[in-house]
Amino acid sequence: MMLGRVKGCVVSTVKHPSYEGKKVLLVEPVSPDGTPKRGTVVAVDTVGAGDGDIVLVASEGRSATEILGFSTRMPLRSVIIGIVDHIELYRP
């Protein structure tokens, strides 16, 4: 999973049917201390994330198929699967 900050949402009319009715957000990758990194990701929200939230994005393996309950595999890879409340870093 990847850590990121929600920057906004994608408004889209013409899209693959697997994206119908889903909230599609823009997520900027961040390091654990909150420093932004380049490479904005487009991810489907499953937890009610909003602007500025630090979120967990899964883009590996069969995460999206499992979480969204598709019966067949779909061209959808990145899903927001958690909103981070707190991170504790062990090194100073």
């Binding site: 920057k7 906004g8 949402c9 408004v11 889209s12 693959h16 823009l26 061209p75 890879r77």
Partner: protein, 93 residues
């Protein structure tokens, strides 16, 4: 998934037959401010993109699954056209 800008079209007569009938575009991955990220990619289109469109695309194994009845040999597939980006920083406080 990531954002991209369609920057060109590509034709290939000799290709895997599973790509027959599909449109190939040159697509530049971009961030939300339209700044390029890395180099251009060749993408299979599934949504009727046109040159200059802002799109989102999927990579990896999921790129092979746009159709119910068959898998396609693609590792970059365009799956949506962006109407607009609603960015928090652009909204009035």
């Amino acid at each position: 998934m990531k954002l991209g800008r369609v920057v060109g079209k590509l034709w290939a007569t000799a290709k895997d037959k599973k790509l027959n009938g599909l449109k190939l575009y040159l697509m530049q991955p971009v961030d939300e401010s339209d700044r390029p990220l890395g180099s251009e990619l060749v993408a299979v289109d599934t949504v009727g993109s046109k040159e200059g469109d802002l799109v989102y695309w999927v990579g990896g194994a999921e790129a092979t699954f746009p159709f119910q009845d068959r898998q396609i040999p693609s590792d970059v597939t365009i799956v949506g056209l962006v109407d607009r980006l609603d960015l928090a920083e652009d909204r009035p406080a």
